[in-house]
């Protein structure tokens, strides 16, 4: 187990190195010039050049990247160009709302997706099955900003059940979580349905029925734990998909999280923040996958980590 963790964390370090290199390179070749953003339009060429020198942006790529890596090794993500504070502090402050939103979204997609999938599998071929699968298709294909605005209009503006935006109470959490979770719920319900249909055909389900167990127990105790295994592995990958959605959803709902921070930074070419958010996202994805792999053997005893 220790050997496994060491190997996985070593792999994670390599992944982060790769992500940092690719992102840094893309930002380096980007035609947008961060110095112009900082200096403003009226700045003289001399001012621009002096700012460029100050930030070290006049150096060749490998020098800039090397310096960034060296600082990264000391857990220093650098300073924001425009916000006059440490990137790590900015991210740290924005992390709790984003994690909360992710937790809410995962809860939504699991609750919705698993239930829909199981019900559809048990009612296979009926109108209920077809209806649920159409609903899941809509969930998968609807753009998140449309879903978000629709939710806001119906549940906040028209019905007034939830606040229009902002952060603070449980009520604030519901609509953004749903918006973010609906995409995953669509995927999960489809996966869960096919997995459940497959498991219901298995010999051990027939054995459970032959024992004289109730239908409820056959489904909940025998079919469901086996059917949920492939879905668990998906949750890790999901966190990566979330990072994209979070930028949209946080903007729509005015949620003060990392997504908003990233969006503002991208608009102003605030490279240290973009780098920082990208690396934090990469860490989240790597940890999410690791977590999914660590949970799998708790559910399926046949899986051994090595």
């Amino acid at each position: 187990m220790a050997a496994y963790l060491i190997r996985r964390l070593g792999g994670a370090a390599l992944i982060l190195l790769g992500v940092s290199l690719v992102t840094f390179f893309l930002l380096y070749v980007l035609p947008a010039d961060p110095v112009r953003q900082i200096a403003g339009r009226s700045a003289t060429p001399e001012t621009v050049e002096s700012i460029r020198r100050q930030l070290g942006l006049d150096q060749p790529f490998w020098v800039q990247y090397g310096r960034y890596l060296w600082n990264l090794l000391h857990l220093d993500l650098g300073r924001s160009y425009l916000q006059r504070s440490e990137v790590s502090e900015l991210i740290w402050a924005r992390l709790p709302p984003t994690l909360l939103l992710m937790a809410g979204a995962i809860a939504c997609e699991l609750a919705l997706g698993l239930t829909m999938g199981v019900v559809a599998a048990l009612r296979r071929g009926t109108a209920a099955d077809n209806g649920l699968m159409i609903a899941s298709f809509v969930g998968v294909s609807a753009p998140q900003f449309v879903v978000g605005l629709l939710m806001l209009y119906v549940f906040a503006v028209r019905l007034g059940w939830f606040p229009i935006g902002g952060y603070g109470t449980f009520a604030h959490l519901v609509l953004p979580s749903l918006t973010l979770g609906i995409l995953g719920a669509g995927w999960y319900s489809r996966m869960m349905r096919s997995s459940m249909v497959e498991v219901l055909r298995q010999d051990f389900v027939r054995t459970a029925r032959a024992k004289g167990l109730t239908r409820r127990r056959v489904i909940l105790r025998h079919a469901l734990p086996n059917a949920v295994l492939p879905v668990i592995a998906m949750i890790g990958i999901d966190i990566g998909i979330f990072m994209g959605g979070i930028v949209v959803v946080e903007s729509v709902f005015g949620w003060p999280g990392i997504g908003q921070l990233a969006w503002q930074a991208i608009q102003r070419v605030d490279i240290p923040i973009i780098m920082g958010v990208t690396l934090v996202s990469a860490v989240a994805i790597v940890l999410g996958n690791l977590l999914a792999d660590l949970v799998a053997p708790l559910i399926d005893p046949r899986i051994r980590l090595r």
Partner: protein, 604 residues
């Protein structure tokens, strides 16, 4: 439970002559797009307390559907359309599901063919047993666990306490089938339905499970319905036999009468097709005599060794090794059938894969004059000389290709002939294996299992190989089909002079086709010689045990009493620094080779 109690007392008080279970005029149909199609038509039989009734028949005869109808476990689109299934005085077909559920597992229990998949992989053995008990007996957890432990002891599972907390994947196939039996018998049902309970097991494990079922039936008085395709199992286990074909009852009677004087032509044909050990005269083929030394062997294995590294340490280095094949040497002569027998995991299929270049190997393989020293030497030209026919023809044929193209594919790959020439070759191959040339453009799913295996044989013959490796090629076929495919193989050998490496777990089939036989255990050969030497005069204790374990399709056969062996085949996985001992073979006369007794794993 309150519903089940009065029923139970009714059945228990029934006089011994009255049937526990009686099926009358049972018909079952499946709903298809083209309307309802009958699967079982008007079956009737009765079962008395402590009696074993065998339902015998080939695939598609409706024997499994009949048992599922009794259990009320028919698939959603299948239903019983007529007849009654009475347990004591209750007609099970007319019970509502809630009352049927109280009977299932409590008074009528069932075990299935596939022990590997019939247990829930994510629940411990103990939990699955306790759950079956608690579904019918309102016991607290602790008491249910105690009963589960008793049930495991009753089926003579080793270390029952430890097994309770193990998961199914930690047990071997035979152990899992014992768990299934324990689960089925924990509540002392009136009737136990066993659907091909030993078909997926090795012959020695099959022997143990059959012995166990017989003893448990004696101890508990449970009536047994045994569903099987294996007439050997029928002869050994049954009091009475029902023979089914195409959903209808062909013949019913006491086992001795069915075997001694079958009345129906189908029963006679079925019994005639069953391969039997020791019925083939020892010298009906010239190869049984010492082979002509003049012809060079088609294939020679020298010290063949196949090992797989597994397990990973801190730096990803392997820690253990699977010794699949350890120093195996033999040769296969021209126009000879050389058989490898042994139980699952003994390495017989790995040898086939090494010859075909599918696994890396050490040692030497000499194939039709080519000297192969490793997997890289098995080039395309070499592959022409050795072709494989696998066990499952349905899986070995691409479902999206026409069978004619499948058979022509080896010719295309090796660039042989023009399109028209290939077509002509395929047509003649089809006729050679007993198929019609009009079937060339059909897809594999349009053929029966036996026909599909003929297609596979035609494909293997396309390159005119010197050697065909038949890896369990007839094991998945019904006996009558099996007999015809075996006859085809013999014919092909006589006509074309091809050699066979015939790999099988079925000793009776090997006895009917092989010229020479090698018995394998844990990757090594324990005994090798002509068929007459190995089967007629087995010297190694393991060979004897294998032969004795084969069910004999003769109810009058008396099996010599034997100590019960609850042994498991030891693992071929060893630490990297701990290689297994190589067994030396010594000649006990006329080329009959027998290994010294002792490890690996004391196969005695």
């Amino acid at each position: 439970m309150s519903l089940a109690e009065p029923l139970r007392s009714g059945a228990a008080q029934a006089p011994d002559g009255a049937p526990v279970l009686s099926v009358e005029g049972l018909s079952v149909s499946v709903a298809t797009e083209g309307g309802s199609r009958p699967l079982v038509q008007g079956i009737s039989f009765a079962l008395r307390r402590g009696e074993t009734l065998a339902i015998a028949g080939e695939s598609g005869s409706g024997k499994s559907i009949t048992s599922l109808a009794v259990m009320g476990l028919l698939p959603a689109n299948v239903r019983a359309t007529a007849g009654t299934v009475r347990l004591g005085a209750t007609d099970l077909l007319r019970l509502p599901e809630s009352r049927m559920r109280a009977i299932r597992g409590d008074r009528v229990a069932m075990i299935f063919q596939e022990p590997m998949t019939s247990l829930n992989p994510v629940m411990t053995v103990g939990a699955q047993l306790a759950e079956a008990i608690r579904a019918h007996a309102p016991l607290p957890r602790r008491a249910a666990r105690a009963r589960a432990l008793d049930a495991l002891r009753a089926v003579r599972l080793s270390e029952p306490e430890r097994r309770l907390d193990q998961y199914p994947h930690e047990l071997s196939g035979g152990m899992r089938q014992r768990v299934m039996i324990a689960m089925a018998l924990a509540l002392k049902p009136d009737v136990l339905i066993a659907d091909e309970p030993t078909t997926a097991l090795d012959v020695t494990v099959q022997r143990e499970v059959l012995d166990l079922l017989r003893e448990l039936r004696r101890e508990t008085g449970t009536a047994l319905v045994l569903i099987t395709h294996d007439m050997g199992v029928v002869a050994e286990m049954a009091d009475r036999v029902v023979v089914m074909k195409d959903g209808r009852l062909v013949e019913e009677g006491p086992v001795a009468r069915i075997f001694a004087a079958p009345r129906q032509p189908y029963t006679r044909a079925l019994l005639a097709a069953v391969p039997r050990m020791g019925t083939r005269p020892p010298a009906d083929v010239p190869a049984d005599a010492p082979a002509l030394p003049s012809a060079p062997p088609v294939c020679t294995l020298r010290d063949l060794t196949v090992r797989f590294d597994i397990g990973r340490g801190l730096l990803g280095r392997p820690t253990h090794r699977v010794h699949a094949v350890e120093g195996v040497s033999f040769d296969i002569r021209a126009a000879e059938t050389f058989a490898l027998v042994g139980e699952s995991g003994c390495g017989k299929s790995t040898i086939a894969r090494a010859i075909a270049g599918l696994v890396p190997f050490a040692g030497g393989i000499d194939l039709a004059g080519h000297e192969l020293r490793g997997q890289g030497d098995v080039t395309r030209a070499v592959r022409r000389d050795a072709q494989i026919v696998f066990q499952d023809p349905a899986a070995a044929l691409d479902p999206r290709m026409r069978v004619g193209d499948l058979v022509a594919e080896p010719l295309v790959i090796h660039g042989i002939g023009t399109r028209d020439e290939r077509r002509a070759t395929v047509e003649s191959l089809f006729e050679r294996v007993g198929l019609s040339r009009t079937q060339l453009d059909r897809y594999p799913h349009e053929f029966s299992g036996g026909q599909r295996q003929r297609v596979c044989i035609a494909r293997a013959l396309a390159l005119r190989p010197r050697l065909i490796v038949a890896d369990e090629s007839v094991s998945a076929l019904d006996v009558s089909v099996q007999a015809r495919v075996l006859a085809l193989l013999r014919e092909l050998q006589d006509d074309m002079g091809v050699s066979f490496l015939f790999i099988s777990h079925d000793m009776a089939v090997v006895d009917s086709i092989a010229d020479r036989v090698a018995v394998m255990f844990l990757g090594q050969i324990l005994e090798m010689g002509t068929r007459a030497q190995v089967f007629g005069d087995p010297r190694h204790p393991y060979t004897r045990r294998l032969i004795e374990a084969v069910p004999v399709p003769d109810p009058t056969h008396v099996r010599p009493p034997r100590d019960r062996l609850a042994s498991e085949v030891p693992s071929p996985v060893r630490r990297r620094d701990d290689p297994p001992r190589r067994l030396r073979l010594r000649d006990v006369g006329d080329g009959h080779l027998v290994s010294e007794p002792g490890p690996p794993g004391e196969p005695v």
